[in-house]
Amino acid sequence: MSIIHKQNYKKAYQLFAAVLLSGLVSTTSIAAKPTLTVYTYDSFTSDWGPGPKVKQAFEETCDCNLSLVGLEDGVSLLNRLKLEGKNTKADVVLGIDTNLTADARASGLFSMHGQTLQNSALPQAWNDDTFFPYDYGYFAFVYNTELLKNPPTSLKELVEDANGPTILIQDPRTSTPGLGLLLWVKKVYGDKADEAWEKLSKRIVTVSKGWSEAYGLFLKGEADMVLSYTTSPAYHIIAEDDKRFAAAEFSEGHYQQTEVAGLVAASQQQDLGKKFLAFMQGEKFQNIIPTTNWMYPAALARTSLPDGFNDLVEPSTALIFSDGEIADNRKKWVAEWLEVMSK
């Protein structure tokens, strides 16, 4: 082997050592301050999510370290907590939604949050004393206004107009918006939901694993509309100065998703955890949410939102099932959906 090759190896080795060391140092540098460990989903912790700003803002006030651990999504968060049980490292879990809260409550792993929601922007009163909301949004079909001139004005119109627009949706087994649409159709059609799906299925271009695939395909022009959020156009307006995209307003109302955090019962840091939940409904945290998570903050007046949010569709009715109803029926409804959609 030539000397050059040996040097290459040496360099590569040094690089690895550097990476390894930096990993070790960052995990072992424990200061005297207490550390609050928050499990969340990884688009929250990513550079583009709220994570970095939230960490900085909270550490300025708490005299502690905030350690944000990113897992794949809300479903993984809850599964992870169930696997770890009482030995969990988490003090707070942030990022499960109201479709999962009944299940999470039943696990018995959470304690009371002890907060009252002030300045609530939620369309309904908050009565859950285990989970505490930080943001919410409405599912909606997003379209390009230059390409689709007459979008449907109701879910019924979308379903029943055989010549209506083509759509991209997500799979309820793997994706939160996918489950949201399933519940939305159930809310509007009740026992007739399977007939609605049968009609709709002819114009579903594809059912993707996650939101990213469907939205990416939509931007490539694969269908007229994509299942997303009413707040999605705000991204294009604010970050890209692009006003072509809009969410279609449906007269029956839109299905609502509320994201919550909860205090882990086994945590040794109940007080610090509560401090974090209180911080979560404070103005600093709430102001970070709109342009990083692209959702409505749960405790901030509409007037305090950045400009692009004022042009958005505001649903007349917020549709939502109680978390108990979802826990009881979710499996059955998904099986029904699979049956119709697999024909």
Partner: protein, 523 residues
């Protein structure tokens, strides 16, 4: 000959432990549904039968078409001899393996979507889309794996076939097909496994839940339903399905008779077929190249400087490199030991035993990493801080997933070298180390290089189980790409995707160069 090398059994034992222990630990986790009748209903449902059938059908079809086309392309490449950019083309053929599935879906849609270069419209979504994407992923890989077979056909066989005046069909029948019978079943099985475990591609391009595979069902029961025992049962079902196919493919398997002539170095070019070969090679290059070019165009329109100037990107790149290189080193080492044993048995005439060992080493591929990862997590969590162990676990799982690639690339070469030099080495009474240094390494380094490069590339493009364990500050490049996508940063993700491709290509090239040495004999 001395007793066969036993090290392969140790490797098999380690693999068995690394797969079975997590599976068992999952079985101890009772799911939420205590309703046993619901479980029984699931196992008897039409739904399960349908996904079983569909998984098998799409995988057989995808693998069949990929292999069929790969045979054509590999044959054309072998007969065509040297031409400009041949090396580059072969490197390009190593790339689809690296492309994260979501990027590949976007690439395929850029070409065949309704606004694409060759619009197929709605008919893309369904079996067409699945097959297109799977052929894009697997045909090039199969070409890379099949090409060395032609190289192994001795020159005097070609000369003899010419003297006998064999036509192209007869040449294929008596020369090439005979040589292929050793590798083809194994390579087909590998491609079949890759298609069987395909997930996001099948779901997204398949048009909906009609196209649900077992892999999706496993994911659903482990995540959505949180029913670990059902996930294990489904994973075992997938393993069983694969064993069945492995058994069927082994019926076609035939090791060539002992061959002591030198392999040919320069391929004899058959002039008559040159034009056809040129057409086949060009079509294949265009087919594989188009989605890659579409990705590059997307990236060129993206915020290149913004993405590249982020220090996080480079940290992610070094972590990705660390995972890729460590996993491939581990995988190649394990593969070498496993193959030492299986080739020893082959030499002793115990061929069934030999192929059994190789098959057991390969087949772990179909146990989903999510299942192994979750099981390992349950085992580790009470005793260790799992965050600190996330990277070693990712490396371990990737090394296991890489093993079938190593067995396919290194296996035939190792067996041939043993057949040729075993007796010589014994009569010279070389020690193990001398033998490795003088005989094995010079002969096998090219195959070692290819397998190291392939496994490293695969591991680098893998989203992996790192998201399962929780990501601290540094992420891998594929994970960073997903983060960008979920933050609406689709143009940035396009740049990151091409950066990942370029980075993998560089690592692929470097590893092949450093390990494979300077000789210009191409595989």
């Amino acid at each position: 000959m001395s007793l066969p090398n036993r090290s392969g059994y140790w490797i098999l034992a380690i693999i068995a432990l690394a797969v079975l222990a997590p599976l068992l630990s999952l079985l101890t986790q009772s799911g939420l549904s205590t309703d046993d009748s619901a479980g029984l209903e699931f196992w008897q449902s039409n739904y399960l039968r349908r996904i079983l059938f569909f998984s098998l059908w799409q995988a057989l079809l995808s693998a069949g078409i990929s292999i069929g086309l790969a045979l054509l392309v590999a044959r054309a490449l072998a007969h065509h001899g040297v031409f400009p950019f041949r090396g580059l083309l072969l490197k390009l053929f190593g790339l689809p393996l690296v492309v994260p599935s979501i990027v590949a879906v976007m690439g395929v849609v850029s070409i065949y979507g309704s606004n694409g270069w060759i619009p197929l419209g709605r008919s893309l979504y369904g079996l067409n889309g699945i097959l297109l994407a799977h052929v894009f992923f697997n045909m090039p890989l199969a070409v890379r794996l099949l090409l060395p077979v032609w190289q192994s056909i001795p020159t005097h066989h070609w000369q003899m076939s010419e003297q006998l005046g064999l036509n192209r069909w007869q040449q294929w029948r008596h020369l090439e097909w005979q040589a292929l019978r050793e590798s083809l079943p194994g390579i087909s099985l590998l491609i079949f496994m890759l298609c069987l475990t395909s997930f996001a591609v099948v779901l997204t391009l398949g048009g909906g839940p009609k196209s649900t595979t077992l892999e999706v069902a496993i994911y659903q029961s482990l995540r959505f339903d949180f029913d670990p025992p059902q996930a294990v049962a489904l994973a075992l079902l997938q393993l069983g399905l694969c064993l069945l196919v492995a058994w069927a493919s082994s019926l076609f398997h035939k090791l060539p008779d002992v061959e002591i002539s030198l392999p040919n170095v320069q391929m004899t070019t058959v002039a008559a077929g040159r034009h056809i070969n040129t057409v086949i090679i060009s079509v294949a290059a265009i087919f594989v190249g188009m989605p890659l070019v579409a990705m590059i165009i997307d990236a060129l329109n993206g915020p290149i400087l913004t993405v590249l100037s982020k220090p996080e990107l480079w940290l992610s790149a070094s972590l990705t490199l660390l995972i890729g290189v460590s996993a491939s080193a581990l995988s190649v080492l394990a593969g070498w030991l496993l193959l030492s044993t299986s080739t020893d048995y082959a030499m002793l005439g115990q061929r069934r035993k030999a192929s059994m060992i190789e098959m057991l080493g390969s087949i772990v591929y179909v146990v989903p990493p999510l299942v192994i990862g979750t099981g390992l997590f349950i085992l580790m969590a009470p005793h260790l801080n799992v965050f600190e162990w996330a990277i070693p676990v990712v490396i371990l799982i990737n090394a296991m997933m890489g093993l079938p690639f190593v067995i396919r690339t290194l296996g035939p070469a190792m067996r041939q070298s043993k057949m040729r030099y075993q007796q010589l080495c014994e009569s010279l009474a070389l020690t193990k180390w001398q033998r490795f240094k003088i005989v094995d390494w010079p002969l096998l380094r090219k195959s070692v290089a290819l397998s190291t490069a392939l496994v490293a590339a695969m591991a680098m493009g893998d989203l992996g189980v790192i998201a399962l364990f929780g990501t601290p500050e540094i992420t891998t490049l594929p994970l960073m790409l997903y983060h960008q996508l979920s933050a609406y940063l689709i143009p940035n993700a396009a740049v990151t995707a091409v950066f990942l491709l370029g980075f993998c290509l560089l690592v692929f090239w470097l590893l092949e160069k450093l390990i494979g040495g300077k000789t210009n004999v191409e595989h």
